[in-house]
């Protein structure tokens, strides 16, 4: 293993992580809800009375974030290397997987681990291992 020192951004990443933590803290303390993006988006497909508005407002905030960012800073770097067929396959896997597994990086990785949940710890270890494996196959196996 070599470290990509040129790409390494510990301070920005730590600061961004603190903001994510503050957001998760606000959602549980004000709205009483866990900040799991896949659960919040997934719940839009199964709307219950009085449960739709906050989900739409939260997603609108996420979508508006790049606009707020542009008001004070240069455009963030977003590089998507994947092809369209790969994006379709990846999206389907993420959609089905997060609903079947009850969470994603935010719900399990941030909120669940913050709660000390054994389920979330197991899920996070599993999806990270799967991510490592897929990237290894895609980038390092002969023929790739």
């Amino acid at each position: 293993m070599t470290i990509a020192w040129a790409a390494f951004t510990p301070w920005a990443s730590l600061a961004g992580g603190l903001l994510v933590g503050v957001a998760a803290a606000m959602l549980i303390l004000f709205n009483g809800r866990v900040a799991g993006i896949s659960g919040i988006v997934g719940g839009l497909l199964r709307p219950a009375r009085g449960d739709l508005g906050w989900r739409v407002a939260f997603v609108a905030g996420l979508v508006a974030a790049p606009l707020a960012w542009l008001a004070v800073a240069a455009a963030p770097r977003l590089h998507v290397a994947a092809s369209v067929p790969a994006l379709v396959a990846a999206g389907l896997l993420v959609g089905v997987g997060t609903r079947l597994g009850s969470g994603c990086t935010s719900g399990h990785g941030v909120c669940g681990i913050s709660r000390g949940s054994r389920r979330s710890l197991a899920a996070t270890a599993t999806f990270m291992a799967a991510g490592f494996a897929v990237v290894f196959v895609a980038r390092h196996l002969p023929g790739s």
Partner: protein, 138 residues
């Protein structure tokens, strides 16, 4: 009030993802590439988020209602079952394939990234497919 706080939370969450580098699939894949030139930055995202989160959830656990008087809804399941593990495997595979997980994909959508539109449509289709299969099983 509930709607206003949810919007602000989404905004702060999205800004955190942008600042941390999590919203950039190239950076996420650099983190997942243990065998190549590894970028450990995203460990710091998780460290920062869990640091603040653990204090907040420890406090939340002492209450039954939120500060706005909403019922506090925390997950109650504790068993590690097959659905959890299979779901996490599928999710992780998709994450490694494109470098997008749900939050960053929605943020990239807001940034006008055309490929994020494709990913989010497929992701919502995957979620809808799951709902259909679940509804049939019930």
């Amino acid at each position: 009030m509930r709607l206003a706080t949810a919007f602000v939370v989404g905004l702060v969450f999205g800004l955190g993802l942008l600042l941390s580098g999590m919203a950039d699939p190239a950076k996420v894949l650099g983190f997942l590439d243990l065998a190549g030139a590894w970028d450990p930055s995203l460990m710091f995202v998780m460290g920062g988020a869990v640091g603040v989160g653990s204090v907040a959830f420890a406090f939340a656990r002492t209450r039954t209602r939120s500060l706005l008087g909403e019922p506090l809804q925390l997950p109650t399941k504790t068993s590690v079952d097959r659905r959890l593990i299979v779901g996490a495997l599928l999710f992780g595979a998709g994450w490694g394939l494109a470098g997008f997980c749900p939050g960053p994909a929605v943020v990239a959508l807001g940034a006008g990234e055309a490929k994020a539109v494709v990913f989010v449509i497929a992701m919502v289709a995957g979620m809808a497919l799951f709902e259909l299969v679940e509804a049939r099983r019930r």
